[in-house]
């Protein structure tokens, strides 16, 4: 392909760092004039390249897809913007791809809006945009429209990104919390809390010897694989903020069923477990960015998990619980000693404890 070598290894930018007139972002880069045009031409287009975007109209003109449309939006304000395993750019693409495909939809198009703080390094923007291009390519989606605003120093924290996305839902797929019923199984696609702990341990003030990589990844092909073996998937969500506990509480409330988890079945890596122990955090409440929870009919759960395990993003997929008609609206956790307790909705962000 032109301008970029998507075939390059992970450590190289696919899109060569462009030579701009400035090495930091100026207010004028968002003002619609010559500097804006230069940014689009030299930074965004080479990384996002596709024929819809290349038309550079005020809107992307898209063919009407055949099926119901899934439409979603998400804003990304993560700090630090670079963390082990990813950055705010691939996070913004994968996050929206995942929100689309949790409906069973095939993601097609994304929009991207940047709000950049004046003085932000152009080289950092290039790294971010490059990872967005790579993540979009991996997920098979096209970034077809975008916008950039630059705000005064102090008006935002380095860079904020909004992505919206459109996907098409195949006619025979209908997902939603309303389809959850007692007897269903709860499937988790892999280890939990990797993203949240990666970001937390990358923050100033904490130094950990071992590096925890974020799990940021687009899950659309994993979802496709799951539907290949079963249509009895009732609901799916990616457990981002608030973690597994928050989304299962949402499921339990909106379906008015109980959800019972079995603690020993929930995979957590040793690094994450250790960091959580040190900081007094519960991994069930920590964010993930490349995992999904599916509620499926009991009879198909086994073959869905087997299929997921064949995909790199679902290698550690497993059944972690079941839907019950007891404790309606609540999630409970049965521990290794056979004692059942509530797994509550989080109040806000978990706070590290005094001691």
């Amino acid at each position: 392909m032109k301008n970029g070598t998507m075939e390059n290894d992970d450590f190289a930018l696919s899109c060569p760092t462009p030579i701009l007139n400035y090495d930091t972002i100026q207010l004028a880069h968002g003002a619609g004039g010559r500097l804006s045009a230069e940014l689009i031409e030299k930074v965004f287009l080479p990384c996002f390249e596709n024929e819809i975007l290349l038309k550079l109209e005020d809107q992307a003109q898209l063919e009407k897809p055949n099926g119901r449309i899934a439409f979603t939006t998400d804003s990304f304000v993560v700090s630090p913007i670079f963390f082990p395993g990813g950055n705010i750019g691939d996070l913004a693409v994968n996050g929206t791809v995942n929100d689309i495909c949790m409906s069973g939809a095939i993601p097609l198009y994304l929009s991207v809006g940047f709000i950049i703080e004046e003085g932000f390094e152009v080289s950092e923007l290039c790294r971010i945009v490059d990872s967005m291009g790579k993540a979009a390519k991996t997920a098979g989606v096209r970034i077809v429209t975008g916008d950039t605003k630059v705000v005064n120093r102090g008006s935002c924290d380095k860079i904020f990104i909004n992505t919206s996305g459109i996907g098409v839902i195949p006619n025979d797929i209908n997902l939603g919390a309303g389809y959850i019923k007692p007897g269903d199984k709860v499937i988790l696609s892999g280890t939990i809390a990797d993203h949240g702990m990666s970001v937390m341990t990358a923050r100033d003030g904490l130094s950990f010897e071992s590096r925890i990589n974020s799990d940021t990844a687009g899950l659309n092909y994993l979802v496709r694989d799951m539907f290949k073996v079963s249509k009895k998937i009732h609901a799916m969500r990616d457990p981002t903020r608030g973690g597994v506990a928050a989304i299962l509480n949402e499921f339990a409330r909106s379906s008015n069923t109980g959800i019972r988890l079995f603690e020993e079945t929930i995979p957590v890596s040793d690094e994450v477990k250790g960091a959580c122990e040190l900081l007094g955090l519960d991994p069930l409440y920590v964010a993930n960015e490349g995992k999904l929870i599916a509620i499926t009919a009991s009879e198909d759960a086994g073959k869905i998990v087997e299929k997921m395990q064949c995909n790199d993003l679902g290698k550690k997929a497993c059944i972690i619980g079941e839907v019950t008609d007891e404790n309606a609206g609540k999630v409970t956790l049965r521990n290794i000693y056979g004692i059942e307790r509530i797994l509550d909705m989080p109040i806000g962000e978990q706070l590290p404890r005094i001691c």
Partner: protein
């Protein structure tokens, strides 16, 4: 995972439970002092695994819970000042004062930052010489060495823009106060493992002797807690009362002497009010006169604040082991972790918060 899995092993747990069942012949009331232990007991359901005639009551060892309302209000006043960067351990930010919490102050423009260590606050002070940096020095003997070290370092560096708002509390005077109460029901204590790691277990010997009560320094994992309970039960059944260290991997007789040295250099013993309990003589620590320049309360003149606790709250009675959270009419109704009315609901380690979080479904709330 090493140092964790072996203390959570279900087979070992089963066998120690069996030992406890064999030993116990009568009803006993045991108090775990530390909020971390309460949290572990309720989260793991240890109270439900024990024989019915062993009752666990939850002690006052949650520093967030027992920090008096006046001090939270002082913190809020200082944090709201435009010249101040207010730094604190994370779990103090959600603790409500009389009408707001530190998160609210932050949203109103106060510069409130979560730190993981007081030495981080010191770094912020060095980097912001035109700001006053205040650290909210809360905690038991566990956090005292680090908090003392921050003041000691600041003095050595002649840092003029660092102060601490100090509300340190001590475990042994609290145990004595509980044992001296005519209403006391507690017959044995699990002492707080990490406090003992700093102070050693020898300071509990006079208490065990004077009040004829077993005191067992105990850790925080299920195995630790059950071993602690087993030791207390064995002693109670035999009529013995001694200090029996069940947390030997962290606690020694004399504790961490370097840590004690820095505490004694910077802080001195003072009377301290405990939220929900009241003033306990000689139960706290404050800055010594020679470090008075590092006292945020003095520097910002916020010492005389009067507060009123809601009358319905029974946290004081809960902290003495006389009642359980579910005995309170406000529990889970007027009083929740989002809108706590008193000490034991404000922190996740408080007894009420632990019951609310993990065992609420038993009360139909």
């Amino acid at each position: 995972m090493k140092y964790i899995d072996e203390y959570r092993d279900p087979e070992k747990i089963k066998s120690i439970l069996k030992e406890i069942e064999t030993e116990v012949t009568r009803p006993w009331v045991i108090m775990e002092i530390c909020g971390g232990q309460t949290h572990s007991i309720i989260k793991n359901g240890i109270d439900q695994l024990l024989p019915k005639n062993i009752e666990l009551v939850h002690g006052p060892g949650c520093p967030v819970c027992v920090t008096p309302l006046e001090l939270i209000d002082q913190a809020l006043q200082i944090a709201a000042r435009p010249d101040v960067i207010f730094t604190s351990f994370g779990d103090m930010l959600r603790v409500p004062g009389s009408n707001k919490d530190l998160f609210k102050v932050k949203s109103e423009g106060g510069d409130v930052r979560i730190v993981y260590s007081p030495l981080e606050s010191l770094k912020i002070a060095r980097e912001n010489p035109d700001k006053e940096v205040v650290f909210f020095a809360v905690g038991f003997e566990t956090t005292a060495p680090g908090n003392a070290m921050a003041v000691y370092q600041a003095a050595r560096e002649h840092l003029k823009n660092f102060t601490e708002l100090v509300s340190h509390v001590l475990v042994p005077p609290a145990i004595k106060a509980l044992l001296s109460s005519p209403k006391n029901r507690v017959q044995g204590y699990l002492a707080a493992g990490h406090v003992c790691a700093v102070m050693g277990w020898s300071e509990y010997e006079p208490i065990a002797e004077q009040y004829k009560v077993p005191v067992v320094p105990t850790g925080f994992e299920p195995m630790d807690i059950l071993s602690g309970i087993l030791s207390v039960i064995r002693q109670l059944e035999k009529g013995e009362y001694k200090v029996d260290n069940q947390y030997a991997r962290a606690v020694s007789k004399n504790g961490n002497e370097a840590a004690q040295k820095i505490i004694n250099e910077v802080y001195e013993i003072c009377d301290r009010k405990w939220r929900g309990i009241g003033v306990i003589p000689a139960s706290g620590m404050c800055l010594k006169e020679k470090y008075a320049d590092y006292d945020a309360g003095k520097k910002f003149g916020v010492s005389n604040i009067e507060t009123h606790e809601p009358e319905v709250c029974i946290s004081g009675i809960i902290l003495q082991g006389l009642k359980k959270p579910i005995d309170c009419p406000a529990f889970g109704k007027a009083c929740t972790p989002q809108h706590p009315l008193g000490a034991t609901m404000v922190s996740s380690e408080g007894a009420c918060a632990a019951y609310y979080r993990y065992q609420r479904f038993k009360t139909n709330i």
